[in-house]
Every structure is written in C-alpha cells, then in structure tokens.
C-alpha cells in the first residue's frame, strides 16, 4: 500500500524508522516534509562536526573536473536537448544521406506514424532518464517508460506493412542470422553515441539499476529509429532478431556493468 501522511505521522509519533517506501512520498509531500523537518529541527543536535563534513564535501567537489563533470552540471534543459541531439543526429543523417532502397514505395502514413512514435519516446524517455533529483519521477513512471521503450520496437516490427519492392534475405543473398547480425551491429553502433551521452549527462554518483535499464531501452529506440530509415529487409524474423533486440542487448550490457560495478565497490 502507498505511504501516506498518516503513516509519516504514525512513524514520528511511535518512534519507528521510516521504510524505503516512504521516501517517494516524502520527496513530494510538503506536509510530511514539514513534519519531519520539525521533528529534526527540535531533536538534539548531532555530534558530527560541520567543518569536518564540509572539508570532505569540498574534497568531493574538487574532483568535479573535466568534460563529463562539465556536461552533467549543465542545466536540465541543456542536458535534455543535448541528449536529444545525440539521439536524433544519426536518424537525420540516415534519412538524408543513406535512405533505404525501398523508401519511395513505403506507405508514407505508416512511416510518419512510426517515426512520430519513436520520436515521442526518444524525447519522453530522455526527459525521464535525466529528471533531476529535486523533481523526482516515480518508480512506476520510470518502469512504465522503460517497458514501453522495450516493447515499442517489437510492436512496430511485428506490424510493419510490407512495401511493394521490399527485399528479403534471399534477394540480399544473406542468411537470416547474417543479415540480422549486420543490422543489429549497425543499430547498436549508431545508437552508441546517444547511449554514452545520456550516461554522461546523468548526474547520479552511483547509477541506479533502473536508470541503466532505461538508458538501454532508450538505445534500442534510437537504434530502431535509425534502422527504420536504413533497412529494406522486411523479413519478420530478420526484424525481430536484428532490429527489436537492440534494446535488449543494451539493457543486458548496461545492467551487467551496473551490477558488476556495484559488487566491486
């Protein structure tokens, strides 16, 4: 059950510790913030030395140097726009300079619909991933966005209409696995700058797993967006293996990196 103001009051009155479930509510409820602050304000002062703590904090601030530190201390608006630029640049370059061979016969309305869906999710998921700590996004919103970003490519490649002069693995003289591998590699490579940018723009000291999953899913959306304008191979299995799996690969790799990093601490 969700934490409420009554639970906060109960915890304060009955001297119990606040569980982790309370923090989402405390971060957004001004009444509970006042109640807990009041209790903290009038409780006995702590023995730790403010000056000693300040020296430690200053030391950490002194480490905030270099390009990545500069990137993450930009305003949230600049960070979001920056991440969007990294995500959309390969898509636009693909559309202008290396359009798929069956582009002219592809149903325009479907193209627009798919492109808009990918675009909307790139913007929204980027916004959610980079939401600053003082403006928290609920865990539910985070997970819904991640799930949607992972599922959308599967939905699109499963229901994509087939243009008149589409190509198949046979016509391309490639085995299904080989052709899928080429697209997977291409999508992963072109989404990589966007994934790295999002990772760098984030301000967390220790990346939470949920952030890693969203970044991975976001990489999948960017990769599929690029492939929408790149790959004329409409074979269903090719699209599932070579396109829709980009997000899953990123999620697995980034999840592994985060968990391994956590264990090594």
């Amino acid at each position: 059950m969700a934490w409420s103001c009554d639970d906060t009051r109960r915890a304060l009155r009955h001297s119990t510790e606040f569980p982790v479930e309370s923090l989402e509510h405390l971060a957004t409820c001004n009444i509970c913030q006042e109640m807990t602050e009041l209790a903290a304000d009038v409780s006995p002062s702590v023995s730790s030395s403010v000056d000693a703590e300040m020296i430690k904090t200053r030391a950490r601030l002194d480490e905030e140097r270099g390009f990545v530190a500069w990137l993450r201390s930009r305003s949230s608006r600049v960070r979001s726009i920056g991440a969007g630029v990294f995500a959309l640049t390969p898509v636009i370059l693909q559309l202008i300079f290396a359009r798929r061979s069956d582009f002219s016969s592809y149903p325009v309305t479907w193209f627009i619909a798919f492109a808009l869906a990918y675009f909307a999710l790139v913007v929204w998921a980027g916004f959610v991933a980079l939401s600053p700590l003082y403006r928290p996004i609920s865990l539910r919103q985070f997970l819904t966005t991640t799930l949607l970003s992972l599922i959308l490519p599967w939905v699109i490649v499963s229901f994509e209409p087939v243009p008149d002069n589409h190509q198949t693995n046979v016509e391309l003289n490639l085995g299904i696995l080989h052709s899928a591998w080429l697209c997977l590699r291409y999508g992963l490579a072109l989404a990589l700058p966007a994934v790295v940018a999002l990772w760098w723009f984030d301000r967390s000291e220790v990346k939470p797993l949920r952030f890693g999953l969203l970044v991975g899913a976001w990489g999948g959306i960017v990769g599929n967006f690029v492939l929408l304008f790149h790959c004329p191979n409409e074979a269903q299995l090719h699209q599932w293996l070579g396109h829709a799996t980009i997000g899953i690969v990123y999620v697995l790799v980034i999840g592994f990196v985060i968990i391994k990093g956590r264990k090594s601490r």
Binding site: V20, E53, L61, S76, P132
Partner: protein, 196 residues
C-alpha cells in the same frame, strides 16, 4: 565581514551567489543545512557513515544542479527532496527494511530521551508554540498530530474540505518549525498577519 554578510543573506540569495561562482556562499549553505539533513536522515536505517556520505552527496548534487535553481524558488524543499531521493536510491539498492525503533521523534525524544527535564521543557515549548499559531492552524495540527485523525476526518469534523485542511496543516507545521528555529521571524510574521 564577508562571513557576516553571507550569514544575513537568504538561502536563495546565497544560491544565486553560488551560481555566479561564489564558493563562500556554498559554505554558508552547507553550514545552514548539513546538521538538519543529518538529523532527517537518522530516521532511516542508515549507519552514521552512510548518513555522512548521503549528506555529502546531497551537496554534490546541489553543486551539479546549481544551474537549474531558479531564484524565485525555495532552496530548502529543493535540498530536502534531493536528500530524500538519494536516501531512497541508497535504501533500495541495499534492500533494507526498518529494524528497530529510534529515539529521536517529536513525541518521544524531541526533548531528549535521557533527559526528563528537557523532555518536559520541550513538551511545554511545543504547547507554547501551538498556542501562538493562528486558531485554524492550531486546531488542525492538534487534531492531526495529537488525535491522529486523517485530513478527511478533520474536514468532516470541522466542516471544511480535505484540500483546505491539508493547506492549513502545511502552514501549521511550517509555522511550528519556524517557531522552534527562528522565533523572532515567526513573531514578526504573526504580527504582520494580525495587522492585516
């Protein structure tokens, strides 16, 4: 002189100065809030080292997000929200559950558990503080905190909708806090309110 000047600036003015690169402003913000954050974080299942680390991280995040801060907004809730979110991430990653009661709540140890006299004094102070609140806030805080009614129940009892009760509760708790931390400011504001 510089330190004295920093001390009279508001939190928001200090933050604006820090945005412009004044490091002394950061130190003053730290002095004002480090202890409060430490006391707030003691309410969670965290060790002293973890609390210390979270306080440092909170200020690190304040530094990283400094360009987001708008002079028209308030620094205090901004900083607390950052601290609560960092604590949430920390506790989630550790998957810890609350274990034991703590001894620093408003009712039990505001006054200091080991010190009966201080406890009595604090209870008395709380009574005095409540008595100085505007009547409508006093009533809501008493019903909410002491009688443990929900906002809906209070609304039904005094014939006001729950939204308005929440507003009164918020103002009431904020005023109580002001009474304990800065009585002069609290009384000046009360006098202004009455004059209006």
């Amino acid at each position: 002189l510089r330190d004295n000047l920093q001390a009279v600036l508001s939190d928001e003015q200090l933050m604006t100065a820090y945005q412009a690169g004044d490091k002394a402003a950061f130190d003053e913000i730290f002095r004002r809030y480090a202890q409060l954050l430490t006391r707030l974080l003691r309410r969670f299942t965290l060790t002293q080292d973890e609390i210390s680390d979270l306080v440092q991280q909170t200020f690190l995040q304040l530094h990283r997000a400094r360009m987001d801060f708008l002079p028209s907004s308030e620094l205090r809730p901004w900083l607390l929200t950052i601290a609560f979110n960092l604590a949430r991430d920390k506790l989630r990653s550790d998957r810890r559950k609350p274990e034991s009661p703590i001894d620093s709540t408003l009712e039990a140890t505001l006054p200091g558990a080991a010190d009966g006299f201080r406890r009595y004094e604090m209870r008395r102070d709380l009574g005095l503080a409540l008595a100085e609140l505007p009547t409508e806030q006093q009533e809501v805080v008493r019903l909410h905190y002491e009688e443990e009614l929900t906002f809906e129940e209070i609304g039904e009892r005094i014939g006001v909708n729950a939204g308005a009760i929440r507003v009164r509760a918020h103002r009431g708790y904020a005023n109580l806090r002001k009474w304990f931390t800065n009585k002069d400011e609290f009384r000046e504001e009360s006098a202004d309110r009455r004059a209006r």
